[in-house]
């Protein structure tokens, strides 16, 4: 099982098929899921405005790939790959997560790459849970959950993924997590097909503030053999620096403690004044 997964990882690397954001906009993460709508657990904030721009992805060495664009209401659209592997995601007018599914069938091997992309528009009235639950290809790695609309993958945080084959959880399957910074983690899925990783905190140089740290890429790869047919699937997503590099919990507790002391003093003074008034 381990060898099979490693092979899958190598295969993905060898094929050179990788989905990555091309030329991030000036506001570095404006076109990424979970960054547009502002609440930043890291303390910063990404703009809505940038998120309304068209999203561009790049698929390297993806000749012959069949690309399906899944909308939040689960309707689908086939996309054509542009020059140099550029893939412009059309505006659907729908708010929330969409899924880009690139499939390439080699007969005895089927490769799939999936990426969840947040785009703005009118409220779709559909939960990302529906998109995650939809069977988009034979073998897929599904975020469990997809980072909530105001959230994002972050280094040093723990995230779960489900591995599904034909819509059913794939138990005891080896899953490989690699990052564009060179980290590599492996784990086995449990009986429910779930695997959990603590994302590596592997950003080589971290500056204070999320906006000063461009996101890196993570790939979660799983494989499965059915008869003489091999399935390899990769979930790709951006992930961000751990904000604890510039946010301190102990100092926060100390400041709250100072507030507690001052609040306590104010309360004590009031009690003292009331007693004085009472005795007078």
């Amino acid at each position: 099982m381990r060898i099979k997964t490693l092979m899958a990882g190598l295969l993905a690397a060898a094929c050179g098929v990788s989905v990555a954001l091309a030329q991030p906009p000036a506001h570095s993460d404006a076109a990424e899921p979970g960054t547009e709508t502002g609440q930043n657990p890291g303390g910063g904030h990404a703009g809505h405005g940038g998120g309304r721009r068209a999203t561009m992805l790049v698929l390297a060495n993806a000749d012959g790939a069949h690309i399906t664009y899944w909308k939040p209401d689960l309707t689908r659209q086939t996309l054509e790959l542009g020059m140099m592997g550029h893939l412009a995601l059309p505006r659907t007018g729908m708010d929330n997560y969409h899924a880009v599914v690139a499939e390439r069938d080699w007969g005895n091997l089927k490769e799939t790459f999936i990426r969840y992309v947040y785009t703005f528009g009118k409220p779709s009235g559909h939960s990302p849970a529906e998109l995650a639950a939809a069977v988009k290809t034979e073998l897929e790695v599904v975020p469990d959950p997809i980072p909530r609309e105001h959230y994002r993958y972050m280094a040093a945080y723990t995230w779960s993924f489900l591995v599904r084959y034909q819509g059913q959880p794939l138990a005891n399957s080896q899953v490989l997590l690699t990052t564009s910074q060179g980290s590599r983690l492996e784990a086995l899925t449990d009986a429910a097909g779930r695997v959990t990783f603590r994302l590596p905190d592997d950003f080589p140089e971290v500056e204070a503030g999320r906006e000063n740290n461009p996101p890196a890429e993570l790939n979660v790869t799983a494989s499965h053999r059915e008869g003489d047919r091999e399935f390899v699937t990769v979930l790709t997503a951006p992930y961000h620096t751990d904000p604890s590099h510039w946010q301190s919990f102990p100092t926060g507790v100390a400041i709250a403690g100072a507030g507690f002391l001052v609040g306590g003093l104010v309360g004590f003074r009031r009690r003292h004044d009331n007693k004085k008034r009472g005795s007078a």
Partner: protein
Amino acid sequence: MNPLTNLSVIRKLVQIAAFAFLVYGSVVVGYYTADKLSVAFPALTCAYDMRSADYCTLVPFQHQMAHRVGEAISSGSSLLMGLLPVVTTLATFLLLFVLLNKAFCGWICPLGFFQELLSAIGQKLGLQQRESVAPGIVDRLRPVKWIMLGVLVFGLPLLSGLGFASHDLVGAYCAICPSRIMTTLAVGDTSQLYFDSANPTVMVLSVSADFLFGAMVALGLTTRQPFCRICPLLALHAAFRKVGLARLVKNPSPRCGKCGLCAKACPIDIREIHTTEKQGDITFADCTLCGRCVEFCPDQDVLQLKYATFPVFSASPRYFKQRKQAQKRWESWTLHGWWNRRRSPATERA
């Protein structure tokens, strides 16, 4: 007194249920924003809480002021299009607000309940003050909630959207809101209690948030509802309180001028409940419709909680007597008293 006929007990039960639902309710409604009840809820249910059932209405207001109104003005595009989401949020807020009016504060708000819990702990520790906050302090605090609403919820986010203020001020109120820290801690997430050193703006915001949270906890032990008095949501509620179906109604009696028990019972120290001679709807700007003034009014039907035109709960001498006794019993049990009772037999033996 049967606890189930005690309005304060009923209110506590509703608050516990509302707290559990709003803070942990994603298990019921779903994890994603699209699953939430309204995303414009008229109480401080926090969007930073990954398990919340809904988001407070101040979240979309801040973001829409920055990213829709501010950007529409700065880019020269249609202001109407920029204002449309704000109007939609306001309409959603009002749809819910009409149902309970300011009772969202007194009966539903998780932070309001948390402060009542602190007050109860303070009372049991013998720290809670029975006396009302001095009228001068109450008067000085009253405008603060409007300043919070105007500056932190609308002003700074708008200036940020216009490009006149730091982008870190888009969520200026959320950045200092004690509900963000309280609700995330309640779900075991410590990521919101931090000191942020990324730049001076977030540094000031994070220090303010942590300090305010600590001060609120300490003050909550000695003073009733310290943060509610300056909460911007209380101000937003105040602006629309005339459209709410729930209301506080007064039918003044000649005895009102001498009594004043209603004002003493009020957790926000609204002394005007006692002094006003106005007949009819007296839902004051600071009122949270908790109903304590009605409970502690000794005269028949002088104070009433009404839903539209229907009286839901009215003051009565009989209820007042029972309630007063129940309150006395509740207040008589303190940790200090318990400790003294434990010590006294030993002292006698010695």
